[in-house]
């Protein structure tokens, strides 16, 4: 039972950020802009959030600090993504090049500023955000233990984000218009939708969510942030592909990946896995091997938004 509890708990730690960042990618790609800089956005979000906590934790604490830090992360991610938006939408640049540049910029910038400001590459913060037990809900057997004891509000935020996303894409005019810009921007434009503006808005949402995702990723697993999210943004992109750009399926895809990640990170604590005696490096490689396998068997079928990656040129209508 404790093993199941442990797996479920750490699974949740990986699941929520993966889901949030995959949703960030969803908004961007649905609107027709490839967002390969999720990794960089996460780094910038986590960096801004942890830096904020590092300096403000003497003045406020607990949930208020966390909420403020999340807002800071969202703002940082949003601003940072505008660089990608500008290159991809306005300059019609190659979207993967601009994204890769931003990824390496984010890492260098985070390390550089952290060293210059705090004296160390690793920004430390006190984790005062854990809620020991939510009253009433925490008493529900099993489910209560997993979701409502030793919980973070970010978990609920993550679920709220996916619910709102599902709602936006299936029920609202904005969601439909956004998808139209990614499928057939010429047609969307001819119906009076401002493709450029829609894409800017989509990327803003994407950046804010990506920034939040970065901070959510760091908080439960480490007391410091060292300027790297270890390919998590790219894993989120694979989740997006596996989930075939459909919000509901993202849940299942993110769950699969977080399970693998849990095994990779915590195999020592899972009795039958630690008995096999495979090397540490094998388990560390596991998420990446599975990603490759999943893509090998799903990429041919996974057809994303038709116009994703193509700059929209009004003159070609």
């Amino acid at each position: 039972m404790t093993v199941v509890y442990f797996v479920a708990k750490s699974c949740l730690c990986f699941f929520i950020p993966l889901l949030v960042v995959a949703v960030a990618g969803l908004f961007s790609e649905k609107s027709g802009v490839l967002n390969m800089c999720l990794e960089g956005i996460m780094i910038i979000g986590a960096f801004a959030g942890t830096l904020f906590m590092h300096f403000m934790q003497d003045r406020m604490s607990g949930q208020l600090l966390l909420v403020c830090a999340l807002l800071v992360s969202a703002a940082a991610g949003l601003l940072f993504t505008q660089l990608h938006a500008f290159a991809a939408i306005k300059l019609k640049a190659d979207q993967s090049i601009s994204a890769m540049a931003l990824n390496s910029f984010a890492a260098a910038f985070a390390i550089f500023v952290a060293r210059s400001v705090t004296g160390s590459q690793h920004i430390a913060f006190d984790n005062t955000f854990r809620i020991a037990k939510v009253p009433l809900l925490g008493d529900i057997p099993f489910i209560g233990e997993i979701f409502f004891q030793d919980a973070y509000i970010t978990t609920f935020l993550g679920f709220a984000i996916i619910l709102v996303t599902i709602f936006i894409f299936s029920k609202t005019r904005f969601g439909m218009r956004l998808s139209a810009c990614g499928e057939n921007p010429q047609a969307a434009d001819s119906l009076g939708i401002n493709v450029y503006r829609t894409r800017y808005i989509a990327l803003a949402i994407s950046g804010a969510l990506g920034g939040i995702g970065g901070l959510i990723y760091v908080i439960p697993i480490s007391p410091t942030f060292g300027g790297d999210v270890y390919g998590y943004g790219f894993l989120a992109m694979s989740v997006l592909m596996l989930g075939q750009w459909k919000p509901v399926r993202l849940l299942a895809a993110a769950f699969l990946f977080s399970l693998i990640k849990t095994v990779a990170a915590g195999y020592m604590s899972i009795p039958f896995l630690s008995d096999i005696g495979l090397s540490d490096n094998f388990y560390k490689s596991l998420p990446y091997i599975i990603t490759l396998l999943v893509l090998t068997f799903s990429a041919n079928r996974a057809i994303g938004p038709k116009a994703a990656g193509q700059p929209y040129d009004k003159g070609r209508r």
Binding site: I97, M100, S104, F112, G231, N281, Y288, T291, T296
Partner: protein
């Protein structure tokens, strides 16, 4: 004919000025960041950065620039080859590590080889291993349509963990938690460069790299294969229609790319500087630096020679900048801004085109008046 050559000229001119502009704005950004961090030391620090440390120890700095330029030049050339076929190879980090490991392993273990073969064979083995490592993402792209950016990134992590295991199993030097040192007879020949630039690690590698860049330029521009490569990069369906095997071209281009980058890894660690591959979880930066170099060079293998020297120049400057109390990551900020800013290439090209068109219109007006 005249029109075509003029068009070509504006094109390369636009590319060149975009690169120069990108480099300048990148440097300007660095200056701003330095000013924000520490206004008092910013100017001297910036001067050190842009003089590449040559002011302080001229000969050593030049030698170091040549040494630093070698691996990143190979990475740039590798990325450029793949780019020509529209393949974006982000797997440089992994290919670099694999090549570095095979090079070091060969240099240490293959004692039966005679004379100069002691370092030549490991270099070749490194290149082959890189090609093999790049084969998988190439095939996945060609036959299973797997996004090459994601697959090569996954391969980077795999390479890191695999090389860590392999080092620990074979050539581990536990005191420093890195690979063992290479025996002197298997290190790259210095060719007297150590006498010319005392205190530096310059060696034959720089000549090998430059020669390979020129060779790649010839292959891309003067051979049938190179033509097919470029054609696939421009339009793969047209390519298929014309009877070029576009799948094979994709796989071969990323294999060449992997081979060059892996060779860069071997050249870096076989220089006999005592530097070994550390066993830890981060990716080598050279793979990404290769991207900046290629983009800065407009993906031209000859341009790669210059841009690699430029980035090496900044890197050496960045090492000296630490004495002013700055962190050397500032160089990474410059290079990534350079890639981002090269997005402006298109903007500048459009501007050049409009200029040319205006000039042409004026010219026609003139001749009409003359008649």
């Amino acid at each position: 004919m005249l029109k075509k050559s003029r068009k070509l000229n504006t094109d390369s001119l636009a590319k060149l000025s975009a690169s120069v502009l990108a480099a300048l704005v990148g440097l300007l950004l660095a200056l701003i960041i330095l000013l924000v961090c520490d206004a008092k030391n910013a100017m001297p620090g910036f001067l050190t950065l842009i003089t590449g440390g040559i002011r302080k120890e001229p000969l050593k700095a030049i030698g170091e620039i040549l040494y630093q330029a070698t691996p990143i030049m190979m990475c740039g050339a590798g990325i450029a080859v793949a780019f020509k076929a529209s393949v974006f190879n982000i797997g440089g980090g992994g290919q670099f590590l694999i090549g570095a490991f095979v090079g070091i392993y060969g240099a240490i273990k293959w004692e039966f080889l005679p004379g100069p073969l002691r370092w030549i064979v490991p270099l070749i083995a490194a290149a082959l291993s890189g090609a093999l490592w790049a084969f998988l993402p190439g095939v996945l792209k060609a036959f299973r349509n797997v996004n090459i950016i994601i697959s090569t990134i996954m391969m980077n992590y795999l390479a890191r963990y695999m090389v860590n295991s392999l080092i620990k199993a074979t050539i581990f030097f536990s005191a420093k938690s890195e690979t063992q040192a290479i025996p002197a007879e298997a290190t790259l020949p210095r060719l007297g460069l150590d006498k010319l630039f005392p205190g530096s690690s310059a060696n034959i590698g720089i000549f090998i790299s430059i020669a390979i860049c020129i060779l790649i330029w010839v292959i891309i521009n003067k051979t049938t294969f190179g033509y097919e490569l470029r054609a696939c990069g421009l339009n793969d369906s047209a390519c298929k229609y014309a009877g070029i095997k576009e799948k094979r071209t994709i796989v071969v281009s990323i294999m060449i790319s992997g081979a060059l980058i892996a060779l860069g890894g071997a050249l870096m660690y076989m220089a006999g500087t005592g530097k070994g591959i550390k066993v830890y979880d981060t990716q080598p930066a050279e793979g990404f630096t290769g991207i900046s170099i290629s983009v800065l060079a407009g993906n031209s293998p000859l341009g790669v020679i210059l841009s690699a020297l430029f980035i090496a120049f900044l890197t050496v400057g960045g090492q000296y900048i630490q004495s002013h109390g700055f962190v050397k990551e500032i160089v990474n900020i410059v290079t990534s801004s350079v890639i981002y800013l090269s997005a402006f290439t298109l903007l500048i090209r459009i501007w050049f085109d409009t200029m040319a068109r205006k000039r042409q219109a004026k010219h026609i007006q003139h001749t009409e008046k003359g008649e």
